[in-house]
């Protein structure tokens, strides 16, 4: 390993000297390439299996290159699995959640960062702690609470809050507000007080200050946090598992668990289903990569 670790020092010294030439990092490259290949194997295997029709894998076995490669499995998985419906459910859950989270978190962050209270710190602490709890701790009481909350049958086919999107949206919102409040409050604290002071002296109301001054400046943080939240809530498995009982209302990430039971040992279809589920995240990653990474490191770079 010494050959690998000796290069960082050399390069970092060179980095700061004008006109230095970069040393070739053969060992590092080899190591990283090997690691990268290992890292890609599981996903690559799933992709490979998904592109082969079951008839071919039955004939030639899974570890062969015989037969054709096509997207038939994707089409079959989409239809048999009902993915169109599941993706719609995911959208119904994710978008309102993220919007509500950003709105509420920014409101709270604004109040905490601009105005002094007695309970500022206490509230912030409680909010952050709330986000770090394992969700299983809250499962039973939330289930019973939702079961006991009556709704007219026109709004909910269970007569209560169970099996409704609203339940999942509400809990997701509550769960993520803590983290976003914390991050946004740090961010807003960095915005100069003079901005709002000036507006205040001019007679602008609180809402004006919040809506008109602070929010536009928070846009980069919103982009970062928003991307992060979209991915996290899209990937969330537990809350829909708990609160939604109808198979047809499940979002895609929870539905993939059921599909295991539906596709059983048709690994090709299962792989195709997994790939279909991965595609939105990959799209978001490649398009909004910077935002996502910024969002992850937002909470880290403080103090």
């Amino acid at each position: 390993m010494s050959a690998v670790t000796s290069s960082p020092t050399a390069s970092s010294v060179h980095r700061n000297q004008a006109g230095s030439k970069k040393r070739p990092h053969y060992a590092t490259h080899i190591f990283l390439t090997i690691m990268a290949i290992m890292w890609l194997i599981p996903l690559g295997w799933a992709l490979f299996t998904s592109l082969r029709p079951k008839a071919d894998t039955d004939k030639y076995g899974y570890f062969s290159f015989g037969g054709s490669f096509n997207f038939n499995n994707f089409i079959a998985a989409w239809n048999q699995g009902g993915f169109g419906n599941y993706f719609l459910n995911s959208v119904i859950i994710v978008i309102p959640s993220v919007i509500l989270i950003l709105i509420f978190a920014s409101m709270m962050a604004f109040a905490v960062s601009r105005y002094s209270w007695r309970f500022n710190i206490t509230l912030l602490i409680m909010f952050t702690a709330g986000n770090l709890l394992p969700p299983q701790v809250l499962a039973a009481p939330l289930f019973q609470m939702f079961k006991a909350f009556p709704l007219p049958y026109a709004l909910s086919d269970s007569g209560n809050l169970l099996n409704t999107y609203a339940a999942v949206i509400a809990v997701n919102t509550a769960f993520q507000i803590g983290f976003c409040t914390f991050v946004l409050s740090n961010y807003m604290r960095a915005l100069p007080q003079e901005l709002t002071e000036a507006a205040f002296v001019d007679g602008a109301s609180i809402w004006r200050q919040y809506w008109g001054i602070i929010l536009p400046l928070t846009r980069p943080a919103f982009a970062a946090l928003g991307t992060l939240q979209v991915i996290w809530i899209y990937n969330d498995f537990f809350w829909p598992l708990l609160f939604i009982q109808s198979g047809s209302k499940l979002p895609v990430t929870t539905a993939i668990n059921n599909l295991k039971g539906v596709f059983l040992d048709n690994y090709n279809l299962l792989a195709a289903g997994a790939m279909i589920t991965v595609i939105p995240t990959l799209i978001i990653y490649f398009v909004l990569q910077k935002q996502f990474v910024a969002g992850l490191t937002l909470g880290a770079n403080k103090g």
């Binding site: 700061n16 409101m107 969700p135």
Partner: protein
């Protein structure tokens, strides 16, 4: 929208040393708005997080079959005694949780750190490498479970094929054999965790002052010494975050074992046991809540440490 940029405010009364305005200086209307802005999110947190947490604690001391509030019977410490003494999966689950934490801390996190260090140099293709290692972080743990299931399958999975045992009686059932499936699951979790740690450390390393490294190398320190004595301590905030994330992730590990076999037969985890007793067909709310409280208490330790560290300076 008027912005009087450059207008410096007078040091009017009502501005705290931190530059924040006192609440009492605001108009009534503003006070209402501000109160609402704080009250609504707080109410949401209260209803959906803090009160249920307290209810979980309460439910752990009762016997309840889930129907109607009048069938709740007090049970004292019975549920806890049952969990600690009579419930066979509990101690294995605790062991597995500890194992999960240790594995993530000693193997997954250092791998992430190593990758970050290596990629922090201006390598060609650094972006590509980063993307490769980072993709698993974007995937949900359920999806990771499904993908690795295709890899680990006893007779149709790539691993046994590469080992040459596919289709033979020696083929290991990676997810089915209770002696090794926890390790198989841990490797899948590492696949994701390392990338997460890598990104955090990459951000942290970027923020390290290069002159520190220069000074260290001029003082004659080699790479290892430079890293551990100079760079690593400077990244303290990141280190704290990574530690907390590792601990929290290991306590939360639920999705992946649930999708493999619902957290049974070698993959018991406290979070899975909670769900088995609360949501599965064998519903025993009191026992499930007792397990949830155990999980809560264990989780509070890193949470409190993290919060006290982070908020120390604010108070």
């Amino acid at each position: 929208m008027t912005e009087l940029i450059g207008t410096t405010t007078t040091a009017a009364a009502g501005i705290t040393p931190r530059g924040r305005r006192r609440f009492s200086m605001l108009t009534r209307r503003d006070r209402v708005v501000l109160t609402l802005m704080v009250a609504v999110p707080t109410l949401i947190q209260l209803i959906f997080i803090w009160i249920p947490t307290l209810l979980s604690v309460y439910l752990s001391f009762v016997k309840w079959n889930g129907l109607g509030l009048d069938s709740i019977k007090p049970a004292g410490l019975d549920n806890y005694i049952y969990v600690f003494r009579d419930y066979p999966p509990f101690w294995p689950a605790l062991q597995h949780n500890v194992l999960w934490l240790v594995f993530l801390a000693l193997i997954a996190t250092p791998i992430g750190l190593l990758l970050a260090i290596l990629l922090d140099q201006q390598l060609r293709g650094s972006r590509v490498y980063q993307s490769v290692f980072f993709v698993p972080v974007m995937l949900s743990l359920v999806l990771i479970g499904v993908i690795w299931q295709l890899f680990y399958s006893q007779n149709n999975g790539l691993l046994n094929f590469l080992l040459g045992t596919s289709g033979t009686p020696q083929a290991v059932d990676w997810f089915g054999d209770p002696n090794i499936n926890i390790w198989a699951a841990l490797i899948a979790a590492t696949w994701r965790h390392a990338g997460y740690v890598m990104i955090l450390y990459l951000a942290g390393l970027k923020g390290v002052d290069p002159s520190l490294r220069e000074a260290a190398s001029l003082d004659g320190a080699n790479a290892v010494q430079t890293f551990f004595r100079v760079i690593f301590p400077v990244m303290r905030p990141i280190n704290i975050v990574v530690v907390v994330i590792t601990v929290i992730e290991s306590l939360r590990a639920f999705d992946i074992v649930y999708v493999i076999n619902r957290g049974t037969n070698g993959l018991e985890l406290i979070s899975a046991l909670v769900i088995q007793n609360l949501v599965g067909e064998g519903q025993v709310i009191g026992v499930g809540s007792a397990l949830a409280v155990v999980l809560l208490v264990i989780s509070l330790v890193p949470i409190i440490i993290y919060l006290s560290r982070t908020f120390k300076k604010e108070a």
